[in-house]
Symmetry: C2
Subunit: 346 residues, 2 copies
DNA sequence: CCTGGGCACTCCCGGGAGGATAGCGCCGAG
DNA sequence: CTCGGCGCTATCCTCCCGGGAGTGCCCAGG
């Protein structure tokens, strides 16, 4: 976007003032206000001229004749890209996050859940944390533990220290020793492959010439198949839904409902979050531009996790006019901490 | 409540009509409507007399002079206790539930989550499912699996087939064999005790004269302590929050917010649900009577699980005037199915 | 004594009028 | 280029008024 070139310093300053005032007060901004709050020493009348220009350029719009101006999505985009300078999170919040994540527990899910809580309460918005996908992570080790006759738990450790465990039904008279034999077999054959590859290979071998497989192999493969048949649903933590209600100007209940519907319908949400992973850097996705359902909302998200392995996403969703100056560093910092924590722990 | 004695057949019929009409339309009911809809063949004027009596008795109230009557909480209580006859769930819904629960997975959490989904979508209300507490369940078997040096997973199987697993940090140079030794030791000593008892005993022995313990014992006890130090938070599944918004007459946003706050603040919710477990039978708890925060809501809940072991709770929460004739059998049936399923599976 | 028609009364609700307010556009002087 | 001033416009709030729904009460009739 080369829009920056076109904006004179004064226009830029006026735009900045309007956006920030709008973020702070959630109401159309008038020329008088801009005149007072901006760094410029211009009368309202002069400001009005500039505002008229900005309106022509598509940065501002009036809800109706003779109301103040509201920034458009384009204005927010511009503000984010060219005006907002990267800031760091307040010392206080940093400490809070570090402390909480420090003793959030050993399990990834606990950590991520905690993370989501933190994000929503610090941002006063809806937060979401999407766990890293496990499909492309490499197999390191599997264990089977007999729970009771006919039921066993499979514990799969993946590269990077991620784990999955799930219950599977097994032959009634399999002993723990049998299970160990099977896991040895599987570990020997599959270590280093990704889960997707494993799944593929298991299926191929099982459906292939059965007679060629000995009993051991076949049973081991069956176990593996049961344990990984379907890829496990990725954990998705959403928190702070309540914050949606506290907002001024959720004038339209229907949008609200749309939002809540989205939050309950995990698949779509998951897809949206996942699509933000690509850039690698923090990304602000304005409703009007990309999420066509949520015109007046925006999503600040960034991936976390080591760059070379599976990555999850943390994000904060709120109204278009949320406090980016705070939320962006917040999301950024949280993701960094999380990445660091995972690197250390796993 | 001996109020039933006092109600003449006509009064009862009028009350019934008003309650049911109010449930269906969520609006004050006038004498004219009652005259038409009730089984009685009386003119509005006569109905008015009866309605006046019912108002005096505290069963009805007027939002303002010259509006229709609304049933009070007392009326709902009466309706539930003496008018509503136990009905069975529609064949169709029964099948739906049986089918879905049938292939909900092997793990308890998956089953309960599914259950919650079902309840909310069939009732169009907010549903909640609280997992059985594990504190008073007896220990059956523990296993430790080394995940990587310094980290192990403890898998605890409880009586009735419930399981818990969690990660614990261990001595860097413990081998899998050591872990097996420890688990043998623990199983030998603790099988049959409840988790609370185990926790108590572990702490006592560890804090007691340390020199008396040999190395093996001490290390085994340490593992046990780490694995059970804090009782795990009970799973609580809430679904259908969205339904709150679809309701007519959530006139007051503040109540709505109260409700959502409650749903996020798990502890309180958990406490409320848990307190409904005592009766053993299905219970309808009207906001005004017992949950003083939620004046206009009511909770239909019932415990599930074998009577002699730990029991969880399923419930549906909705406005005072929800469709009890449908919700009560729904909750009841779901709990029964769940109980049966658990009995069979675990 | 119960029933039910009639009537006056009360209260809510929706629509319209009018004043106050906020903000714009434009013009014209400095 | 700046900016004070004026006229214009649209919203919001308040008040008011009439229609509608439903009650309470009275009284006649079975």
């Amino acid at each position: 976007m080369d829009a920056r070139m076109k904006l004179a310093p004064r226009e830029l300053e006026v735009l900045r003032t309007i956006v920030e005032d709008y973020i702070a007060h959630a109401a159309p901004v008038g020329s008088r206000t801009v005149s007072k709050r901006s760094g410029l020493t211009l009368s309202p009348a002069s400001i009005r001229n500039t505002m008229a220009d900005l309106t022509d350029m598509g940065f501002l719009e009036q809800p109706h004749t003779s109301a103040g101006r509201e920034p458009t999505a384009k204005a927010f985009r511009f503000y984010l890209d060219h005006v907002l300078r990267p800031t760091v999170l307040s010392e206080q919040d940093q400490q809070l996050i570090t402390r909480y994540l420090g003793n959030a527990g050993l399990e990834l899910t606990d950590i991520l859940r905690q993370c989501s809580r933190l994000l929503s309460s610090l941002s006063n918005q809806v937060s979401m944390v999407l766990a890293p996908p496990t499909d492309d992570v490499r197999w390191r080790n599997i264990d089977f533990v007999a729970v009771r006759p006919g039921l066993a738990m499979a514990i799969l450790v993946l590269e990077g220290g991620m784990m999955q465990n799930r219950l599977i039904t097994v032959d009634e008279n399999l002993s723990q020793d049998d299970l160990v034999t099977f896991s040895n077999y599987l570990n020997h054959h599959f270590t280093g492959l990704t889960l997707t590859e494993v799944r593929l290979r298991v299926l191929r071998e099982l459906s292939g010439a059965k007679e060629r497989l000995d009993e051991l192999t076949r049973r081991a493969l069956r176990l593996a198949r049961d344990a990984f048949e379907t890829s496990r649903e990725r954990d998705l933590f959403v928190d702070g839904t309540l914050n949606l209600l506290s907002q001024p100007g959720f004038s339209d209940i229907s949008i609200m409902r749309e939002m809540l519907a989205l939050l309950e319908e995990r698949t779509r949400l998951l897809h949206i979050l996942d699509s933000t992973i690509e850039g690698g850097r923090i990304k602000v996705c304005l409703g009007r531009e990309e999420l066509d359902d949520l015109k007046d909302y925006s999503l600040v998200s960034t991936p976390f996790g080591c760059e070379d392995s599976a990555r999850g996403v943390v994000g904060v969703m709120g109204p278009l006019r949320m406090d980016y100056a705070k939320v962006v560093p917040l999301v950024d910092f949280t993701a960094r901490m999380l990445t660091e924590l995972l690197k250390k722990r796993f």
